[in-house]
Symmetry: C2
Subunit: 378 residues, 2 copies
Amino acid sequence: MKFIIQRDKLTESVQDVMKAVSSRTTIPILTGIKIVATEDGVTLTGSDSDISIESFIPAEEEDKEFVDIQQTGSVVLQARFFSEIVKKLPKDAVEIEVSNNHSTVIRSGKAEFNLNGLDAEEYPLLPQISEENVFKIPTDLLKAMIRQTVFAVSTSETRPILTGVNWKLEDNELICIATDSHRLALRKAKIESGVEETYNVVIPGKSLTELSKILDDTNDLIDITMTENQILFKAKNLLFFSRLLEGNYPDTTRLIPTESKTELIVNTKAFLEAIDRASLLAREARNNVVKLSTLTERMIEISSDSPEIGKVIEEIQTDETTGEELKISFSAKYVMDALKALEGTEIRVTFTGPMRPFLIRTPENESILQLILPVRTY
Amino acid sequence: MKFIIQRDKLTESVQDVMKAVSSRTTIPILTGIKIVATEDGVTLTGSDSDISIESFIPAEEEDKEFVDIQQTGSVVLQARFFSEIVKKLPKDAVEIEVSNNHSTVIRSGKAEFNLNGLDAEEYPLLPQISEENVFKIPTDLLKAMIRQTVFAVSTSETRPILTGVNWKLEDNELICIATDSHRLALRKAKIESGVEETYNVVIPGKSLTELSKILDDTNDLIDITMTENQILFKAKNLLFFSRLLEGNYPDTTRLIPTESKTELIVNTKAFLEAIDRASLLAREARNNVVKLSTLTERMIEISSDSPEIGKVIEEIQTDETTGEELKISFSAKYVMDALKALEGTEIRVTFTGPMRPFLIRTPENESILQLILPVRTY
């Protein structure tokens, strides 16, 4: 194998596939990056067996030459060293040449690295996914749907299924749900798909977080294919495979209250900042709990009390407060996470009593919903 | 005590004095910030007994009002909570009022915090330093002298005196020296002082690092006063006290070679980047060692070899290579630290053989010197 490649293109691809490489793997060769050169270009692959990422650098694109392939071939190089080296090479052109015994020379300017490589034949094969039943979603919408749900997955392995996000595809609608059993985030969107089958899968939260980091903020369409145990996201020059979680995701529809006894509409930023301030003293004591009380038609109060440190109290004007009087306590962190996930300058919060889950939404928008369980303090 | 203060001024002062506050202190009241309001303004103090910082916010300055003092007095507030609260207050004006039992109300907009305070009388007094024998140094020069030496102090407590920087003041010259016994950094400068006495003190490296963070990049003069066990830096509205280290600093003058057998002049950036690249593979093996070999009159080679990973070799053009041929090994980290501390596009490196300490300086500038001990590899 021998080729000359543009450093910036190589750096970018290496950084993408590195997102799948873990230093803590039981399969030693997976600490490496697989490099394959064909007449068409260079393909890099990184994997930790849960996530696999393949990035392709075409030899030519739109009349620009990115790679000069002089001899096809393949090798696996230690990911940590290779990625560090590529970043620090002195010149724009990089020559990579594999000689005997997979020993690989990386040349740029007057710097010459010689890395011990491994046989690419030993590298595990990627899942084979037939590209039937593909549905498409714009990249920016996909990133928004991930961002607005993935923070709510469970970080505990007690119920492994809750560490994933539940994706349901039915009647050309995609519904994403995440819950750690203290709060729930739900986001849905109409999808243009020719897929007639319904799907109900659970994608590891970590996979979605890594995918989101790699994708650019464009509205280019991403192709998505699901099988029984894998999901494949296909963007331009990029394949992202993730294992799916096994097991049934709990039915969460009955958790979501349909009635409401108290409702308020309030400026998102003012509400978020007041809760942030109230939580400053609550962080030490009692698991970050703050209290909300309705005062008058257009005023609520956010407060917190930590006897050893002090207390804080703040009034916020609302656009509207309707229904029953209410005093309720909740985790400041959960409410702040939910508020940050919502878009829009105003939010609508609906309560059905101090012991029942409450909902945070943006007014007039049913596609996103955040549910929080209160904390019993009275 | 009651006053209304500008939030930005308060935030800045709190951040400065926080640099001295440690959460790991044996004196509980030192986890707090002392606040004293007089007719002239508000003084904040933070201390960990090694370092003490006092920041003053004048009631008025240049016809601008920063504080409206309504009642003089004092209190000590928990530093961690107070600093977080101040940063997140909603409005530009902040009212602070101490009521019964040192309980303190902090009001801004509609937010009201109530913090349990402590009696300021219980707070330790700052060292009393008579301001005789003051010498002055521009802030930017002081910061440069700290930056160019403090990185070379020892991080090990085996010889506590080496965790400090040795400052010697004699004949209107200030000499700063730091060494961890593997490398040494020396910086000197002419100082305009009326001080006739000579001083020889050792200042903890940590104190100088914190001082450097607080000082702005101006050429305003800083007043410096040394006593037997304390040093005081006095800037506008700021006092910075540090304990001095006890014991005699080793005499380092005999360590510095006066002759030279091989000398090279090379571009700083090219030299630094080549060593950085060579060290990529060396980080794992043998303590980050790279090798330098003279090749021809205008060419040297930087290399490193880690049998399990691979090897790297790079040629660098020099402006001049004179004297004996040389092969020498050294810690890449020490040389990179030294190169980053030097100013100027070119550096002069002088060797007296592969087993002897070598010197890195900027050509034509005797005020700064970096000495490195080689590593035995042949």
